[in-house]
């Protein structure tokens, strides 16, 4: 009887702890982007060249977390503390080019800043152009 009670208590503690750990990291604070950044105009026109260049950069730098179609379904995404999101949905696609550019450039938590890795702004705008092709 004592053994059963002890096992029950241990199981309860493990179960409670697992829920606690799960719920701690889930809620994401809104990613605040200044109006200036939101309204920054994309200087690179969206054409086959810029989208192809963006796709190459995406496959090297972004795909391992965000997936090839931006669905956040790649193997590495399961290890992230923050949800990588689904870029095909309106919540992402309704954002301005400037807002996406800002987020790629600055990063937050698991999402690294790409200002130094891709110092040429043109590269990051090309990524934005490629991300637009993910819209469903």
């Amino acid at each position: 009887m004592k053994k059963t009670v002890f096992l029950f208590i241990v199981a309860s503690i493990i179960l409670t702890a697992s829920f606690t750990m799960k719920t701690e990291g889930d809620p994401q604070k809104p990613w605040v982007v200044s109006d200036a950044a939101k309204n920054k105009k994309n200087p690179i026109s969206s054409n086959a060249t810029s989208i192809a260049a963006g796709k190459t950069l995406w496959n090297t730098h972004c795909k391992s977390c965000h997936g090839s179609k931006g669905l956040g379904d790649e193997s590495k995404s399961a290890q992230l503390k923050t949800e990588p999101g689904d870029f095909s949905k309106a919540i992402v696609q309704d954002q301005t080019d400037g807002a996406l550019f800002f987020k790629i450039s600055e990063g937050r938590k698991d999402m690294p800043s790409f200002k130094k890795k891709l110092p040429d702004e043109e590269d990051r705008w090309q990524l934005v152009n490629f991300m637009r092709t993910m819209k469903k």
Partner: protein
């Protein structure tokens, strides 16, 4: 037979050089370039190769300013012993660990240590010219190093004999998004070369102190992050004895945002370029290949 092979190799190297100097730029579609020219200025062609080190040679690439790189290069023993030493995996191996940094635009400086001959090297690479869609048909970089042989003093009469040097001009062209070619003539110099006493009692060098060689590399991308690579290194200097064998190497490369992984087979075991160029006795005609891998980790500051 050997001279014939050598002549053919030199001819092929020159031919490749001519081809990629003379061919028109295809790395970007000119029609699309013209539409973009009004909104962006002409920029150098990107990613001629995916890493600064490829197979047994440096590439023309100098990473962007502020890049800190760690390289691990490993070569197993020759595969021709078969299962006896698991194709060289259980044989004595060679390894180099190196760190490099790009403090200013176009200049890479670094240092490394290599197990074979206990060598320590310092090196630099400078991007002299970068290929552009209209102005320059090729990218050109200079690579040079100074190596100190750290073995016991009994190997050397004077400490200055420990030093060797390597100078290389790397010329590369990204022909299409998938295909890049590189040709790199080099000059190696060893302060000390092993000698012997001939039948007249005269002391002679087994090899010359200087050695000229040429290296070619081809990269063909299979996808945005994977590629097949081929390389060939040919000695041009003829030595009195111990003439080195050429290097034929081929491998697979995978690139991620912060890593580059290469696995390949080749004849060079030495890793340090001047050691490879002067002392390689692995003969591809006798299947004396070694398996090797290179791993690069990049950080941007």
């Amino acid at each position: 037979m050997k001279n014939k092979i050598k002549n053919i190799s030199v001819y092929l190297s020159c031919l490749i050089l001519l081809v990629f100097i003379s061919t028109r730029l295809n790395a970007q579609d000119p029609a699309e370039l013209s539409t973009e020219s009004t909104e962006t200025k002409i920029k150098p062609v990107k990613n001629t190769f995916e890493s600064a080190v490829l197979l047994d040679n440096q590439t023309v690439i100098v990473p962007i300013k502020g890049t800190f790189e760690m390289d691990i290069q490993h070569r197993f023993g020759t595969i021709n012993n078969g299962a006896k030493d698991l194709f060289g995996l259980f044989a004595p191996s060679n390894i180099r660990i190196a760190l490099s940094y790009v403090p200013i635009k176009n200049l890479l400086v670094g240092a490394g240590i290599t197990k074979d001959r206990m060598q320590t090297d310092i090196h630099l690479k400078y991007a002299l010219i970068k290929q552009t869609p209209t102005k320059f048909p090729v990218s050109i970089s200079y690579f040079g190093n100074m190596v100190i042989d750290g073995r016991d003093g009994s190997y050397f009469r004077y400490n200055v004999h420990r030093f060797s040097y390597f100078n290389q001009l790397i010329i590369a062209r990204k022909i299409t998004e998938k295909l890049s070619i590189q040709v790199a003539p080099s000059l190696s110099w060893f302060n000390n070369i092993e000698g012997y006493v001939n039948s007249n009692g005269d002391i002679k060098n087994k090899m010359k102190n200087e050695h000229i060689a040429i290296s070619t590399m081809i990269r063909y991308k299979l996808s945005e992050s994977t590629a097949l690579n081929f390389g060939y290194d040919q000695a041009l200097t003829a030595h009195p004895t111990n003439n080195p064998h050429p290097n034929l190497c081929f491998g697979f490369e995978k690139t991620t945002s912060a890593h580059n992984f290469q696995i390949f087979a080749g004849n060079y075991y030495g890793i340090v370029p001047q050691s490879n160029n002067l002392f390689n006795q692995n003969d591809y005609m006798k299947s004396q290949y070694v398996l090797g891998f290179n791993i690069s980790r990049l950080w941007n500051y």
